[in-house]
Protein backbone atom coordinates (compact mmCIF):
# COMPACT_ATOMS: atom_id res chain seq x y z
CA UNK A 1 0.00 0.00 0.00
CA UNK A 2 1.11 3.53 -0.70
CA UNK A 3 0.40 6.42 1.64
CA UNK A 4 -1.19 9.39 -0.07
CA UNK A 5 2.08 11.27 0.46
CA UNK A 6 3.92 8.69 -1.73
CA UNK A 7 1.83 9.60 -4.77
CA UNK A 8 3.52 11.32 -7.69
CA UNK A 9 3.21 11.81 -11.40
CA UNK A 10 3.88 8.60 -13.35
CA UNK A 11 3.17 6.28 -10.42
CA UNK A 12 1.06 3.21 -11.24
CA UNK A 13 -1.62 2.33 -8.72
CA UNK A 14 -4.58 -0.04 -8.54
CA UNK A 15 -8.13 1.29 -8.19
CA UNK A 16 -11.08 -1.13 -7.96
CA UNK A 17 -8.83 -3.89 -9.32
CA UNK A 18 -7.80 -1.95 -12.43
CA UNK A 19 -4.26 -0.76 -13.11
CA UNK A 20 -4.13 3.03 -13.31
CA UNK A 21 -1.48 5.67 -13.77
CA UNK A 22 -1.23 9.11 -12.17
CA UNK A 23 -0.84 11.50 -15.10
CA UNK A 24 -0.89 14.72 -13.11
CA UNK A 25 -0.30 15.42 -9.44
CA UNK A 26 -0.74 18.45 -7.22
CA UNK A 27 -0.03 18.88 -3.50
CA UNK A 28 -2.64 21.12 -1.94
CA UNK A 29 -3.10 22.33 1.63
CA UNK A 30 -5.74 25.00 1.97
CA UNK A 31 -5.43 27.45 4.85
CA UNK A 32 -5.53 25.60 8.13
CA UNK A 33 -6.90 22.52 6.36
CA UNK A 34 -5.50 19.08 5.76
CA UNK A 35 -3.00 18.06 3.10
CA UNK A 36 -4.74 16.93 -0.07
CA UNK A 37 -3.20 15.13 -3.01
CA UNK A 38 -5.07 15.99 -6.19
CA UNK A 39 -4.49 13.49 -8.98
CA UNK A 40 -5.46 13.10 -12.60
CA UNK A 41 -5.62 9.37 -13.20
CA UNK A 42 -5.77 7.22 -16.32
CA UNK A 43 -7.25 3.74 -16.24
CA UNK A 44 -4.70 1.66 -18.17
CA UNK A 45 -7.32 -0.81 -19.39
CA UNK A 46 -10.18 1.43 -20.49
CA UNK A 47 -8.06 4.53 -21.11
CA UNK A 48 -10.60 6.59 -19.13
CA UNK A 49 -9.24 9.69 -17.41
CA UNK A 50 -10.64 11.01 -14.16
CA UNK A 51 -9.80 13.27 -11.19
CA UNK A 52 -9.38 11.93 -7.69
CA UNK A 53 -8.37 13.74 -4.49
CA UNK A 54 -6.70 11.75 -1.73
CA UNK A 55 -6.52 12.84 1.91
CA UNK A 56 -3.25 12.23 3.74
CA UNK A 57 -4.79 9.46 5.87
CA UNK A 58 -5.87 7.46 2.81
CA UNK A 59 -4.01 4.43 1.51
CA UNK A 60 -3.65 3.49 -2.14
CA UNK A 61 -3.10 0.00 -3.56
CA UNK A 62 0.14 -0.74 -5.31
CA UNK A 63 -0.11 -1.99 -8.85
CA UNK A 64 1.96 -5.07 -9.67
CA UNK A 65 2.98 -4.80 -13.30
CA UNK A 66 5.29 -7.42 -14.79
CA UNK A 67 6.84 -7.35 -18.19
CA UNK A 68 8.12 -10.55 -19.88
CA UNK A 69 9.83 -11.42 -23.18
CA UNK A 70 7.86 -13.32 -25.80
CA UNK A 71 8.26 -14.60 -29.36
CA UNK A 72 5.39 -14.31 -31.82
CA UNK A 73 4.07 -17.77 -32.75
CA UNK A 74 0.85 -17.76 -34.80
CA UNK A 75 -2.51 -16.15 -35.47
CA UNK A 76 -5.67 -17.92 -34.34
CA UNK A 77 -8.71 -16.05 -35.68
CA UNK A 78 -8.77 -12.66 -33.90
CA UNK A 79 -6.07 -13.72 -31.47
CA UNK A 80 -2.32 -13.38 -31.71
CA UNK A 81 -0.43 -16.08 -29.88
CA UNK A 82 3.01 -15.48 -28.35
CA UNK A 83 5.24 -17.90 -26.48
CA UNK A 84 7.25 -17.06 -23.37
CA UNK A 85 10.99 -17.10 -24.12
CA UNK A 86 11.75 -18.91 -20.87
CA UNK A 87 8.76 -21.07 -20.03
CA UNK A 88 7.24 -21.45 -23.55
CA UNK A 89 3.85 -20.69 -21.98
CA UNK A 90 1.48 -19.08 -24.43
CA UNK A 91 0.10 -15.57 -24.11
CA UNK A 92 -2.90 -14.67 -26.23
CA UNK A 93 -3.52 -11.05 -27.22
CA UNK A 94 -6.73 -10.02 -28.93
CA UNK A 95 -6.38 -7.89 -32.05
CA UNK A 96 -8.45 -5.17 -30.38
CA UNK A 97 -5.75 -4.71 -27.75
CA UNK A 98 -3.04 -4.64 -30.41
CA UNK A 99 -4.74 -1.97 -32.51
CA UNK A 100 -2.70 -0.98 -35.56
CA UNK A 101 0.32 -2.73 -34.06
CA UNK A 102 -1.15 -6.03 -35.29
CA UNK A 103 -0.11 -5.06 -38.83
CA UNK A 104 3.57 -4.96 -37.87
CA UNK A 105 3.84 -8.38 -36.25
CA UNK A 106 6.11 -10.69 -38.26
CA UNK A 107 7.18 -14.32 -37.83
CA UNK A 108 9.37 -14.94 -34.76
CA UNK A 109 9.18 -11.25 -33.73
CA UNK A 110 10.60 -10.59 -30.25
CA UNK A 111 8.23 -8.57 -28.10
CA UNK A 112 7.76 -7.53 -24.50
CA UNK A 113 4.32 -7.97 -22.96
CA UNK A 114 3.19 -6.04 -19.90
CA UNK A 115 0.90 -7.89 -17.48
CA UNK A 116 -1.23 -6.76 -14.56
CA UNK A 117 -1.90 -9.92 -12.55
CA UNK A 118 -2.42 -12.31 -15.48
CA UNK A 119 -3.97 -9.79 -17.78
CA UNK A 120 -1.95 -8.56 -20.77
CA UNK A 121 -2.10 -4.75 -20.94
CA UNK A 122 0.39 -3.65 -23.51
CA UNK A 123 2.93 -4.89 -25.99
CA UNK A 124 6.28 -3.38 -26.88
CA UNK A 125 7.70 -4.44 -30.24
CA UNK A 126 10.91 -3.46 -32.03
CA UNK A 127 10.79 0.21 -33.04
CA UNK A 128 11.26 -0.64 -36.71
CA UNK A 129 9.92 -3.45 -38.88
CA UNK A 130 10.47 -4.23 -42.58
CA UNK A 131 7.43 -4.69 -44.80
CA UNK A 132 6.77 -5.10 -48.53
CA UNK A 133 4.60 -2.64 -50.48
CA UNK A 134 1.72 -4.54 -52.14
CA UNK A 135 -0.12 -1.70 -53.85
CA UNK A 136 0.73 1.84 -54.90
CA UNK A 137 0.63 4.09 -57.96
CA UNK A 138 3.85 3.79 -59.98
CA UNK A 139 6.52 6.21 -58.82
CA UNK A 140 8.02 8.96 -60.95
CA UNK A 141 11.42 7.78 -62.10
CA UNK A 142 14.32 9.74 -60.72
CA UNK A 143 12.16 11.63 -58.21
CA UNK A 144 13.86 11.02 -54.86
CA UNK A 145 12.09 13.80 -52.96
CA UNK A 146 11.01 12.45 -49.57
CA UNK A 147 8.57 15.22 -48.75
CA UNK A 148 6.01 14.40 -51.44
CA UNK A 149 3.90 11.48 -50.25
CA UNK A 150 1.33 9.15 -51.82
CA UNK A 151 -0.88 6.39 -50.40
CA UNK A 152 0.24 2.75 -50.44
CA UNK A 153 -0.95 -0.57 -49.04
CA UNK A 154 0.92 -3.45 -47.42
CA UNK A 155 0.16 -7.13 -48.12
CA UNK A 156 -1.85 -7.26 -44.89
CA UNK A 157 -4.02 -4.30 -45.95
CA UNK A 158 -2.39 -1.60 -43.77
CA UNK A 159 -2.54 1.79 -45.47
CA UNK A 160 0.50 4.02 -45.26
CA UNK A 161 1.80 7.18 -46.87
CA UNK A 162 5.12 6.70 -48.64
CA UNK A 163 7.39 8.98 -50.70
CA UNK A 164 6.53 9.24 -54.37
CA UNK A 165 9.57 7.15 -55.53
CA UNK A 166 8.39 3.95 -53.76
CA UNK A 167 7.06 1.16 -56.03
CA UNK A 168 5.13 -2.06 -55.57
CA UNK A 169 7.44 -4.82 -54.33
CA UNK A 170 9.78 -2.40 -52.53
CA UNK A 171 10.71 -3.26 -48.94
CA UNK A 172 10.37 -0.35 -46.54
CA UNK A 173 11.07 0.21 -42.86
CA UNK A 174 8.11 1.30 -40.70
CA UNK A 175 8.25 2.99 -37.32
CA UNK A 176 5.98 0.77 -35.22
CA UNK A 177 5.45 3.47 -32.59
CA UNK A 178 3.38 5.66 -34.88
CA UNK A 179 2.99 3.42 -37.95
CA UNK A 180 4.76 5.85 -40.26
CA UNK A 181 7.21 5.31 -43.13
CA UNK A 182 10.86 5.53 -42.04
CA UNK A 183 12.99 4.65 -45.11
CA UNK A 184 13.40 2.27 -48.07
CA UNK A 185 15.38 -0.94 -47.47
CA UNK A 186 15.48 -2.38 -50.99
CA UNK A 187 13.82 -2.11 -54.38
CA UNK A 188 11.36 -4.79 -55.39
Amino acid sequence: MYSASDLKKGLKIEIDGDPCMITNFEFSKPGKGQALYRCKIKNLITGNQFDKTYRSVEKVNRCALISRDYTFSYIDGDNYVFSDNETYEEAILNEELLGDQKYFIVDDMQVEILFHNDRALDITMPNFVEMVIAETEPGARGDTATNVMKPAKLENGYEINVPIFINEGDTIRIDTRDGSYADRVSKG
Binding site: S28, K29, G31, K32, G33, A35, L36
Partner: protein, 290 residues
Protein backbone atom coordinates in the same frame (compact mmCIF):
# COMPACT_ATOMS: atom_id res chain seq x y z
CA UNK B 1 5.71 56.21 -6.32
CA UNK B 2 7.83 53.07 -6.27
CA UNK B 3 10.28 52.18 -9.01
CA UNK B 4 9.58 48.97 -10.94
CA UNK B 5 10.63 45.67 -9.40
CA UNK B 6 13.65 43.96 -11.04
CA UNK B 7 12.66 41.30 -13.62
CA UNK B 8 13.17 37.67 -12.65
CA UNK B 9 14.58 35.52 -15.45
CA UNK B 10 16.74 33.14 -13.41
CA UNK B 11 15.91 31.92 -9.90
CA UNK B 12 18.99 33.74 -8.57
CA UNK B 13 17.55 37.02 -9.95
CA UNK B 14 14.80 36.61 -7.40
CA UNK B 15 17.30 37.56 -4.68
CA UNK B 16 17.20 41.15 -5.93
CA UNK B 17 13.41 41.05 -6.07
CA UNK B 18 13.27 39.68 -2.53
CA UNK B 19 15.56 42.45 -1.30
CA UNK B 20 13.37 45.11 -2.94
CA UNK B 21 10.15 43.64 -1.55
CA UNK B 22 11.49 43.22 1.99
CA UNK B 23 12.72 46.81 2.07
CA UNK B 24 9.30 48.05 1.00
CA UNK B 25 7.51 45.88 3.53
CA UNK B 26 9.74 47.11 6.37
CA UNK B 27 9.34 50.74 5.24
CA UNK B 28 5.55 50.29 5.22
CA UNK B 29 5.52 49.12 8.84
CA UNK B 30 8.10 51.64 10.09
CA UNK B 31 5.94 54.41 8.56
CA UNK B 32 2.96 53.12 10.50
CA UNK B 33 4.77 53.09 13.85
CA UNK B 34 5.20 49.34 14.04
CA UNK B 35 7.99 47.83 16.10
CA UNK B 36 9.98 45.12 14.34
CA UNK B 37 10.38 42.23 16.76
CA UNK B 38 12.52 39.13 16.78
CA UNK B 39 11.15 36.04 18.55
CA UNK B 40 12.59 32.54 19.01
CA UNK B 41 12.85 30.23 16.03
CA UNK B 42 13.44 27.21 18.28
CA UNK B 43 10.77 26.60 20.86
CA UNK B 44 9.83 24.04 23.49
CA UNK B 45 6.13 23.85 22.64
CA UNK B 46 4.88 24.41 19.11
CA UNK B 47 1.49 26.00 18.60
CA UNK B 48 -1.07 23.19 18.49
CA UNK B 49 -2.96 23.07 15.20
CA UNK B 50 -4.60 20.01 13.73
CA UNK B 51 -2.85 19.94 10.36
CA UNK B 52 0.38 21.80 11.03
CA UNK B 53 3.33 19.68 12.10
CA UNK B 54 6.47 21.11 13.65
CA UNK B 55 9.95 20.02 12.60
CA UNK B 56 11.96 18.72 15.60
CA UNK B 57 15.26 20.48 16.34
CA UNK B 58 17.22 18.67 19.02
CA UNK B 59 15.12 18.85 22.19
CA UNK B 60 13.16 21.77 20.71
CA UNK B 61 10.93 22.33 17.69
CA UNK B 62 11.30 24.85 14.90
CA UNK B 63 8.50 27.39 14.95
CA UNK B 64 5.56 26.89 12.60
CA UNK B 65 4.61 30.54 13.25
CA UNK B 66 5.74 33.33 15.60
CA UNK B 67 2.15 33.74 16.83
CA UNK B 68 2.62 32.44 20.39
CA UNK B 69 5.35 34.98 21.20
CA UNK B 70 3.68 37.89 19.46
CA UNK B 71 0.59 37.45 21.60
CA UNK B 72 2.75 37.40 24.70
CA UNK B 73 4.27 40.70 23.55
CA UNK B 74 0.77 42.17 23.08
CA UNK B 75 -0.08 41.02 26.60
CA UNK B 76 3.09 42.78 27.82
CA UNK B 77 1.88 46.06 26.35
CA UNK B 78 3.18 46.17 22.77
CA UNK B 79 0.66 47.88 20.47
CA UNK B 80 1.86 47.29 16.90
CA UNK B 81 4.45 44.64 16.12
CA UNK B 82 5.70 42.86 13.03
CA UNK B 83 8.25 40.18 12.23
CA UNK B 84 9.56 38.83 8.96
CA UNK B 85 11.38 35.54 9.34
CA UNK B 86 11.66 31.87 8.55
CA UNK B 87 9.03 29.40 9.70
CA UNK B 88 9.04 25.64 9.21
CA UNK B 89 6.30 23.12 8.54
CA UNK B 90 7.05 19.47 8.25
CA UNK B 91 6.05 17.62 5.08
CA UNK B 92 4.71 20.59 3.13
CA UNK B 93 6.29 20.47 -0.30
CA UNK B 94 4.83 21.41 -3.66
CA UNK B 95 4.70 24.26 -6.17
CA UNK B 96 3.11 26.47 -3.50
CA UNK B 97 4.70 24.91 -0.40
CA UNK B 98 8.17 24.63 1.04
CA UNK B 99 8.95 23.18 4.48
CA UNK B 100 11.06 26.31 5.19
CA UNK B 101 9.53 29.62 4.18
CA UNK B 102 9.45 33.30 4.98
CA UNK B 103 6.47 34.56 6.92
CA UNK B 104 5.42 38.13 7.55
CA UNK B 105 3.42 38.30 10.76
CA UNK B 106 1.91 41.42 12.28
CA UNK B 107 -0.45 42.33 15.12
CA UNK B 108 -2.34 45.42 16.10
CA UNK B 109 -3.80 45.90 19.60
CA UNK B 110 -7.35 47.21 19.92
CA UNK B 111 -8.07 46.21 16.33
CA UNK B 112 -10.02 43.42 14.67
CA UNK B 113 -9.78 41.34 11.50
CA UNK B 114 -11.48 44.00 9.36
CA UNK B 115 -8.97 46.64 10.49
CA UNK B 116 -6.25 44.21 9.47
CA UNK B 117 -7.99 43.73 6.11
CA UNK B 118 -7.81 47.49 5.46
CA UNK B 119 -4.15 47.50 6.42
CA UNK B 120 -3.41 44.50 4.18
CA UNK B 121 -5.11 46.18 1.25
CA UNK B 122 -2.92 49.22 1.85
CA UNK B 123 0.20 47.07 2.23
CA UNK B 124 -0.32 45.24 -1.07
CA UNK B 125 -1.09 48.51 -2.85
CA UNK B 126 1.97 50.17 -1.34
CA UNK B 127 4.59 47.44 -1.81
CA UNK B 128 3.31 45.94 -5.07
CA UNK B 129 0.47 47.39 -7.13
CA UNK B 130 -2.75 49.27 -6.60
CA UNK B 131 -5.34 46.57 -6.25
CA UNK B 132 -7.57 48.48 -3.83
CA UNK B 133 -10.38 48.90 -6.35
CA UNK B 134 -10.64 45.25 -7.42
CA UNK B 135 -10.76 43.90 -3.86
CA UNK B 136 -13.60 41.34 -3.67
CA UNK B 137 -14.90 40.08 -0.32
CA UNK B 138 -16.94 36.88 -0.06
CA UNK B 139 -18.17 35.16 3.08
CA UNK B 140 -17.26 31.47 3.31
CA UNK B 141 -21.00 30.68 3.50
CA UNK B 142 -21.81 32.63 0.32
CA UNK B 143 -18.81 31.23 -1.57
CA UNK B 144 -19.66 27.64 -0.63
CA UNK B 145 -23.37 28.11 -1.41
CA UNK B 146 -22.52 29.53 -4.80
CA UNK B 147 -19.65 27.28 -5.87
CA UNK B 148 -20.19 24.05 -3.89
CA UNK B 149 -23.95 24.11 -3.19
CA UNK B 150 -23.91 23.96 0.62
CA UNK B 151 -23.24 26.11 3.67
CA UNK B 152 -20.57 24.65 5.96
CA UNK B 153 -21.50 26.96 8.87
CA UNK B 154 -23.62 24.93 11.28
CA UNK B 155 -23.23 21.92 9.00
CA UNK B 156 -19.48 21.41 9.11
CA UNK B 157 -17.84 18.31 7.71
CA UNK B 158 -14.08 18.69 7.65
CA UNK B 159 -13.30 16.36 4.73
CA UNK B 160 -16.12 17.73 2.61
CA UNK B 161 -15.09 21.29 3.48
CA UNK B 162 -11.41 20.81 2.58
CA UNK B 163 -12.08 18.86 -0.62
CA UNK B 164 -14.79 21.23 -1.88
CA UNK B 165 -12.55 24.16 -1.01
CA UNK B 166 -9.71 22.94 -3.24
CA UNK B 167 -11.86 21.36 -5.96
CA UNK B 168 -14.66 23.92 -6.28
CA UNK B 169 -14.23 27.14 -4.31
CA UNK B 170 -10.55 27.87 -4.92
CA UNK B 171 -10.82 27.27 -8.70
CA UNK B 172 -13.78 29.71 -8.76
CA UNK B 173 -11.72 32.25 -6.81
CA UNK B 174 -8.91 31.82 -9.32
CA UNK B 175 -11.36 32.51 -12.14
CA UNK B 176 -12.49 35.73 -10.44
CA UNK B 177 -8.81 36.72 -10.36
CA UNK B 178 -7.13 39.59 -8.51
CA UNK B 179 -7.50 39.91 -4.73
CA UNK B 180 -10.35 37.86 -3.25
CA UNK B 181 -11.02 37.61 0.48
CA UNK B 182 -12.86 34.64 1.99
CA UNK B 183 -14.15 35.66 5.43
CA UNK B 184 -16.09 34.33 8.41
CA UNK B 185 -15.01 30.70 8.59
CA UNK B 186 -17.10 28.01 10.27
CA UNK B 187 -16.26 28.00 13.97
CA UNK B 188 -14.78 24.49 13.63
CA UNK B 189 -12.13 26.03 11.34
CA UNK B 190 -11.59 29.06 13.56
CA UNK B 191 -8.08 28.00 14.64
CA UNK B 192 -7.00 30.86 16.95
CA UNK B 193 -9.68 33.37 16.01
CA UNK B 194 -12.66 34.52 18.09
CA UNK B 195 -16.31 33.90 17.25
CA UNK B 196 -18.33 36.64 15.60
CA UNK B 197 -20.33 38.48 18.24
CA UNK B 198 -23.88 37.07 18.20
CA UNK B 199 -22.98 34.39 15.63
CA UNK B 200 -21.69 31.25 17.36
CA UNK B 201 -21.42 29.40 14.02
CA UNK B 202 -18.78 31.64 12.48
CA UNK B 203 -15.38 32.96 13.47
CA UNK B 204 -13.67 36.26 12.62
CA UNK B 205 -11.08 34.84 10.29
CA UNK B 206 -10.29 35.67 6.69
CA UNK B 207 -7.95 34.41 4.00
CA UNK B 208 -6.65 36.48 1.11
CA UNK B 209 -6.20 34.98 -2.35
CA UNK B 210 -4.27 36.86 -5.02
CA UNK B 211 -5.00 35.49 -8.49
CA UNK B 212 -6.21 32.26 -6.88
CA UNK B 213 -3.13 31.81 -4.66
CA UNK B 214 -3.78 31.96 -0.94
CA UNK B 215 -1.27 34.38 0.57
CA UNK B 216 -2.55 35.49 3.99
CA UNK B 217 -4.63 34.37 6.96
CA UNK B 218 -5.97 36.86 9.51
CA UNK B 219 -7.96 36.77 12.74
CA UNK B 220 -9.67 38.81 15.34
CA UNK B 221 -7.55 37.03 17.90
CA UNK B 222 -9.10 34.74 20.47
CA UNK B 223 -8.17 36.26 23.85
CA UNK B 224 -10.25 34.02 26.10
CA UNK B 225 -7.86 31.63 27.89
CA UNK B 226 -10.66 29.24 28.89
CA UNK B 227 -11.92 28.88 25.32
CA UNK B 228 -8.33 28.61 24.04
CA UNK B 229 -7.54 25.81 26.50
CA UNK B 230 -10.65 23.89 25.40
CA UNK B 231 -9.62 24.28 21.74
CA UNK B 232 -6.07 23.06 22.46
CA UNK B 233 -7.39 20.05 24.37
CA UNK B 234 -9.84 19.14 21.61
CA UNK B 235 -7.09 19.61 19.03
CA UNK B 236 -4.72 17.35 21.01
CA UNK B 237 -7.37 14.60 20.95
CA UNK B 238 -7.89 15.02 17.22
CA UNK B 239 -4.15 14.92 16.58
CA UNK B 240 -3.84 11.68 18.53
CA UNK B 241 -6.78 10.22 16.57
CA UNK B 242 -4.89 11.03 13.35
CA UNK B 243 -1.79 9.28 14.70
CA UNK B 244 0.05 12.59 15.15
CA UNK B 245 2.02 13.82 18.11
CA UNK B 246 -0.06 15.96 20.53
CA UNK B 247 2.00 18.91 21.72
CA UNK B 248 1.92 20.10 25.32
CA UNK B 249 -0.50 22.80 26.40
CA UNK B 250 1.51 26.04 26.49
CA UNK B 251 0.65 27.41 29.95
CA UNK B 252 2.74 30.57 29.55
CA UNK B 253 0.78 31.40 26.41
CA UNK B 254 -2.60 30.75 28.07
CA UNK B 255 -1.58 32.91 31.03
CA UNK B 256 -0.59 35.74 28.71
CA UNK B 257 -3.98 35.62 26.97
CA UNK B 258 -5.57 36.86 30.23
CA UNK B 259 -3.78 40.19 29.79
CA UNK B 260 -3.92 40.38 26.01
CA UNK B 261 -6.01 43.26 24.59
CA UNK B 262 -8.48 42.53 21.78
CA UNK B 263 -6.21 42.39 18.75
CA UNK B 264 -6.12 41.73 15.04
CA UNK B 265 -3.33 39.66 13.60
CA UNK B 266 -2.21 38.18 10.31
CA UNK B 267 0.37 35.92 8.69
CA UNK B 268 1.35 36.52 5.07
CA UNK B 269 3.49 34.21 2.95
CA UNK B 270 6.33 36.34 1.59
CA UNK B 271 7.62 33.68 -0.81
CA UNK B 272 4.20 33.31 -2.43
CA UNK B 273 3.84 37.08 -2.74
CA UNK B 274 7.28 37.19 -4.40
CA UNK B 275 6.24 34.38 -6.73
CA UNK B 276 3.17 36.35 -7.81
CA UNK B 277 5.20 39.53 -8.33
CA UNK B 278 7.64 37.49 -10.46
CA UNK B 279 4.61 36.27 -12.48
CA UNK B 280 5.58 32.67 -11.71
CA UNK B 281 3.38 29.71 -10.83
CA UNK B 282 5.84 27.80 -8.64
CA UNK B 283 7.99 28.81 -5.68
CA UNK B 284 10.89 27.35 -7.67
CA UNK B 285 11.15 30.78 -9.33
CA UNK B 286 11.89 32.56 -6.05
CA UNK B 287 13.65 29.88 -3.97
CA UNK B 288 16.94 29.44 -5.86
CA UNK B 289 18.37 26.90 -3.44
CA UNK B 290 15.50 24.48 -3.07
Amino acid sequence: MQTAFPKVKMPTDSIMLRDALMRRIRAFFYDRDYTEVETPIRLKIPCMELHIDAEPSGDHFLRTSPEIFHKQLLAAGCQRIFEMGKCFRSGELGPLHNPEYTMLEWYQADADYMDILEETRLLISTVWKDVSKQWKILTVSDAFLEFAGWDPAGNYDEDRFDIDLVEKVEPAIKKIGGPVVLKDYPVEAAALSRCRPGDPLRAERWELYMDGVEIANAYSELTDPVEQRLRFEACAQQRIALGKEAYEIDEAFLQALEKMPPSGGIALGVDRLLMLIAEATSLDAVLPFR
